[in-house]
Amino acid sequence: MVMPLYIEKKPEVLITEEGIRTDGRKPRELRPIRMTVGVLDKADGSAFIEWGGNRILAAVFGPREVHPKHMILPDKALVRARYNMAPFSTPERKRPGPDRRSVELSKVIREALKPAIFAENYPGSVIDIFVEVLRSDAGTRVAGVNAASMALANAGISMRGLVAACAVGRVENFVICDLNHDEDMWGNADMPMAMLMESEEVTLLQIDGPMTESQFKEALELGRDSIRFLYEMQKEALKRPYQVIERSVKGDL
């Protein structure tokens, strides 16, 4: 029997009547974000994202030879993604190896990125995407999608465009963007979202928690606005590999 040296505490108020959140942000305000592209030597492409307390590394290998061979697709590239949490990424140590959550997230991230990749340009090969969560602090899947999208570009994979991502959600009657740990844990609804920015089509969308018709529409729109902001940062980071690109929204998106 192993006991963690950690106790989860629920804040008394998640959001004030004036819309002030537990970390002092307003509903449409993002946490600080830093992006760095090209941080690894051996990967074909890589990116590092620091977003609030998240630290996430993404790398891409490919197009390369497929193993095992029976997975080869003759007319296009096989796209694989692996989302993995480091044992030291959580307050309580996480056992290494995939669990049900990480298996699902690996699929969701793959499906978020696949529409952006010109897979038909690389028949018979594989493009491997690895997302390693080194430190988790709510929103790891969307942070991972942003980093992985930059790593794909950094690897020179031909793409329809970048995929950018952000979580939105609901705390009481407020639709908010970029949920923090408390909001993720105790809020009313969580909605991670990603878009292929060429056409602003949604490539990742999940919801956990109820939203009314109008809240849902508001959330989709706030998601799109947040994602546009992320997209601008991605482009800037890709222009200056090895440089840290840093930003956050103060006040309002």
């Binding site: 989860e8 049900r100 298996v103 699902e104 690996s106 699929k107 969701v108 499906e111 696949k114 529409p115 609804a189 909605m191 292929l196 056409s199 602003e200 089509e201 949604v202 490539t203 990742l204 969308l205 999940q206 919801i207 956990d208 928690g209 109820p210 939203m211 009314t212 018709e213 849902f216 529409k217 989709l220 729109e221 799109r224």
Partner: protein
């Protein structure tokens, strides 16, 4: 779309897509129409609650079993729900024996998320002794015949099986021993969060796709609607959607909710 991709002839692909462009489908349904839903009568499991449901040719069997155990340390005042789906190899040539894979995990989590996000089960009613002893509910979803749209079939069958479940009452005596009583209690549902799955073919949304429609589709999404008409769970699967398409799918789902719920209420 599962596992080793099933090969669909180009002809069939073109035919389905051509039909869709004319608001038609291979089985004659309209775009936003469910296949016939049938709930088989009889006792097929040793579960506390069960439902064998046919959605067209898709057949699923869901069993709800209850055990007793310790609560999680961070939720001492809540019972435990464990959801598991098995894509049996007898249900499709594309399914292989083995531990849960990406597809069976995703579908189980999509059903589970709908139930939890709508708060359909009163988890605190599962507590026997706070922090010590709670009911553990195992929701086992068995796919027997796979002709598309497992999400909706499994969600309906799960809701029925849960609502039907009759669980032995348990007492803890003065010595702290657990006594299983003859009497039973019913696991009531607080909500009926139905899932609605759409595939997209060009600019058309098709509700409740059959296998071949899944295979030739451009994108797929599953949405759960709760009794207040709120979207309480979404899973976009392959492909992509415009924001307008998603809002449209939510509206269609909302309009279909009473019809499905009515079917469910009649058998529980």
């Amino acid at each position: 779309m599962f596992g080793p991709e099933l090969i669909t002839h180009n002809l069939l692909r073109d035919y389905i897509r051509e039909l869709a462009s004319q608001d038609q489908r291979i089985d004659g349904r309209s775009l936003h129409e469910f296949r016939p839903i049938e709930i088989k009568e009889g006792t097929f499991t040793k579960a506390e609650g069960e439902a064998w449901l046919k959605l067209g040719n898709t057949q699923v069997l869901v069993g709800v079993k209850a055990d007793v155990g310790e609560p999680f340390s961070d939720t001492p005042n809540k019972g435990v729900l464990v959801s598991n789906a098995e894509l049996l190899p007898l249900a499709s040539p594309a399914f292989e024996p083995g531990p849960p894979n990406e597809n069976s995990i995703e579908v189980a989590r999509v059903v589970d998320r709908a139930i939890r996000s709508a708060d359909a089960i009163d988890m605190s009613s599962l507590v026997i002794t706070e922090g010590k002893l709670v009911y553990m509910i195992f929701l086992d979803m068995y796919v027997l015949d796979y002709d598309g749209n497992l999400e909706d079939a499994l969600t309906m069958a799960s809701l029925i099986a849960l609502a039907r479940a009759e669980i032995s009452e348990v007492e803890v005596n003065d010595e702290g021993e657990m006594i299983i009583k003859e009497s039973k209690w019913k696991l009531r549902l607080k909500d009926i969060p139905v899932n609605f799955t759409f595939v997209k073919i060009e600019d058309k949304l098709l509700l409740d796709p059959v296998l071949e429609e899944e295979q030739v589709s451009d994108a797929a999404i599953t949405l759960a609607i709760d009794k207040e008409g709120r979207v309480c769970s979404i899973q976009k699967k392959h492909g992509m959607f415009t924001m307008e398409e998603i809002i449209k799918a939510a509206n269609i789902a909302r309009s279909k909710w009473p019809q499905i719920t009515d079917k469910i209420m009649r058998v529980i």
